[in-house]
């Protein structure tokens, strides 16, 4: 059984990691905690429902479209709601993000094809096959998720360290004003950041649905917060840290529930407790660099 739990933990961790990367990238460059990010993740899963179950497209097509649509939504949200507030006090941005999060959730409730009722999720055969590994029975998805997440991470690191756009992202994260003065198109780079972050969250959402095939409008809330905690734990602003934090948190959650099942109701409190402890005592996380305060 322990092996089973470890597998579950790794899968869950990878899912959190995928979402956490989006949080950390946006925070790195904008110093904004994008409250709406968890809901982006939820929307990707719903896009799968719309494309595959309503429009009856093949699963592959649905997945590709979902990623595209979700990335597009991320881009749109930045343009409409966050960019105009770039010069405003940070609190305004945060409040807007909260409003956007609620809006995304309630649009789902209002859509007649979705509504407030739980919806099923299309799972392809290759994800649901079960096989034995050691003493554990696991679903194929348990193995696919870490692999895909790993591939995404490698792709992302390549983007960040080997391309001009990636360099731009890192530059903005270090100092936005200086980057702007150097002539970089800051707006475009920020847009790319949101697109990439949302696309990764979309992959997370699609895979999440394979593992937990019930869709609700608030399914993004808790995973969103877990992922944010992961980002903080790993070091906010640091992509590898987000990945690491995701894995650690996923494992911690599963093991907590496995060894202390009578306290499983306190799972969320446990996670938030970790978050608060890190915020208080190690805000830069495990891999992060200390942020200097200019006087």
């Amino acid at each position: 059984m322990l092996l089973q739990q470890l597998f579950n933990g790794v899968t869950l961790g990878s899912l959190y990691a995928l979402i956490a990367i989006g949080y950390t990238m946006v925070y790195g460059i904008l110093r904004l905690i994008n409250f709406a990010h968890g809901d982006i993740f939820m929307w990707a899963a719903y896009w799968m429902f719309f494309t595959v179950l309503l429009f009856r497209l093949p699963w592959w097509a649905g997945a590709v479209l979902s990623v595209l649509f979700t990335a597009g939504m991320g881009w749109a949200i930045e343009r409409i709601a966050y960019r105009p507030l770039r010069e405003a006090p940070r609190i305004s941005l945060l409040i807007t993000a909260i409003g956007m999060s609620f809006l995304l959730e309630h649009i789902i409730i209002v859509l007649p094809w979705a509504t407030g009722i739980q919806k099923p999720y299309p799972r392809p055969r290759f994800m649901t096959q079960i096989f034995q590994l050691g003493g554990a029975r696991i679903q194929a998805v348990t193995v696919w998720v870490p692999i895909i997440a790993g591939a995404c991470l490698i792709g992302l690191l390549f983007l960040l360290y080997r391309t001009k756009v990636g360099r731009g992202m890192r530059a903005i994260a270090t100092d936005m004003e200086a980057t702007e003065m150097m002539g970089a198109d800051v707006n475009r780079i920020i847009s790319y950041t949101f697109i990439v972050g949302s696309a990764l969250a979309a992959v997370g959402g699609i895979l999440w649905g394979c593992r937990y095939p019930a869709l609700t409008y608030d399914m993004g809330v808790i995973p969103g917060w877990r992922a944010f905690t992961a980002a903080v734990v790993g070091g906010i602003g640091n992509v590898t840290g987000a990945m690491l934090g995701g894995f650690l948190l996923g494992l911690a959650e599963i093991l907590f529930v496995a060894f202390l099942p009578q306290y499983s109701g306190y799972r969320d409190a446990f996670i938030f407790g970790i978050l608060i402890l890190f915020l208080l005592f190690r805000p830069t996380g495990i891999l992060g660099k200390p942020l200097k305060e200019k006087v």
Partner: protein, 387 residues
């Protein structure tokens, strides 16, 4: 002179029309969002169908009946607000709803204080009708549903060791779980594990790990369809093959949509099925439903229609459409409604039969029926056991 009389008659007629046209408003406080959203929608569907198809009267005492819908959001506070609004602003004379016991309890005090009869189609928690004499239900109670399920598990399915998984977020689930466990033990069985989850939980690894360890004969989950479906899926994935027994919360198409093959063979208690239709109106309702929607009618719409019929019947017998009169008339209701003959008691609880359904071939099929009297027998047995 004649013209004057004609004019007077016309005036009186018009005045009469004006008064007669004033509709009688009945509130429909249903859940359209939240954990019980599926039931609210089914209830609305049933009500609209019955009225459209002329199965139930759309006017009584010469006045048209108007249904006013409000979303209770599966939240007691929203239900309370909705009830206040319906009573104060809309001026309803009676309220149908809510589908789930939690929201019902939130609104019940308000209705009781205002003296407006409040009848729940599927509110099975025993506490609901205890709030006052304005509170009624159209269905059976959980302290009967639990023992009947225990009886089925013990006698018909031959289970001796059972694991119970309860959703602690719902008074309905907690109550049912308790009643089932008590009855099962009184019958001679053993509850080897009582585990908990919460509405909205997606991961049941903790609970299922424990179940795998104690290896029961059967799993009883009186929870709502999403949680049951997800848990069943994960149970089957983990290789657990025990039969699963549920309660009326399972009865929604989403159970099969979300659960897939994992929910094949699940049995659960519910209020009605077309194969168990024992009344004329029940059979006609099933027929009209099939014609319009192409599938078997659900119990939630049927029971909502029952509530509607009971209220209209009460208005007719009382001769007036005031909340007080309707309430008194409801207490003595004895009517053949969609789900069977309903005889109301002054406490607000009718005696109803228990239908068991099973998931087979991706559909809900009729399994068996246990009559209302049996539940009383089992309870007597339990009482004796305690002596």
């Amino acid at each position: 002179m004649r013209r004057f009389l004609v004019g007077l008659a016309a005036l009186v007629f018009l005045a009469g029309l004006a008064v007669a046209q004033e509709p009688i408003k009945i509130g429909a406080l249903l859940e359209f969002t939240g954990g019980c959203a599926a039931y609210g929608k089914m209830a609305q569907r049933g009500l609209e169908l019955a009225r459209e198809a002329g199965l139930v009267p759309t006017e009584v005492l010469g006045r048209p009946i108007e249904l006013v819908y409000y979303d209770a959001r599966t939240e007691p506070v929203e239900a309370a607000n909705g009830a206040t609004r319906l009573i104060e602003t809309e001026g309803v004379v009676a309220i149908i709803g809510t589908m789930c016991s939690g929201p019902y309890l939130g609104a019940a005090e308000i209705c009781q204080k205002a003296g407006v009869p409040f009848i729940g189609p599927t509110t099975t928690n025993p506490l609901t009708t205890q709030v006052g004499d304005c509170c009624f239900r159209a269905c059976f109670k959980d302290n009967d549903q639990g023992p009947v399920a225990a009886y089925l598990a013990y006698q018909e399915l031959g289970a001796r060791r059972v694991a119970v998984v309860i959703d602690v977020a719902q008074a309905y689930c907690v109550g049912l779980g308790k009643y089932f466990s008590q009855a099962f033990k009184a019958l001679g069985g053993q509850v080897v594990a009582t585990l908990y989850c919460r509405t909205g939980d997606r991961d049941f690894t903790a609970q299922l790990t424990e179940i795998a360890r104690v290896n029961p004969d059967l799993i009883y989950t009186p929870n709502y369809y999403t949680e049951v479906a997800l848990m069943a899926r994960q149970a089957r994935d983990l290789g657990l093959t025990q039969p699963i027994l549920g309660a009326d919360g399972c009865y929604a198409p989403e159970l099969i949509e979300i659960g897939g093959e994992a929910v094949e063979g699940i049995q659960f208690t519910t209020f009605w099925h077309e194969e168990a239709a024992s009344t004329e109106i029940g059979k006609r309702y099933a027929q009209v439903f099939r014609e319009k929607f192409g599938k078997s009618p659900d119990a939630f719409g049927a029971l909502a229609v029952d509530c509607y019929m009971l209220i209209v019947d009460a208005i007719q017998r009382a001769g007036e459409a005031t909340p007080e009169a309707i309430k008194e008339a409801l207490k003595t209701a004895d009517l053949e409604v969609v789900t069977g003959r309903t005889i109301m008691t002054p406490e607000g609880d009718p005696l109803k039969d228990f239908v068991f359904l099973k998931v087979e071939g991706g559909e809900f099929v009729f399994s068996t029926l246990i009559p209302a009297e049996k539940a009383q027998e089992i309870k007597a047995l339990m009482a004796k056991g305690e002596e």
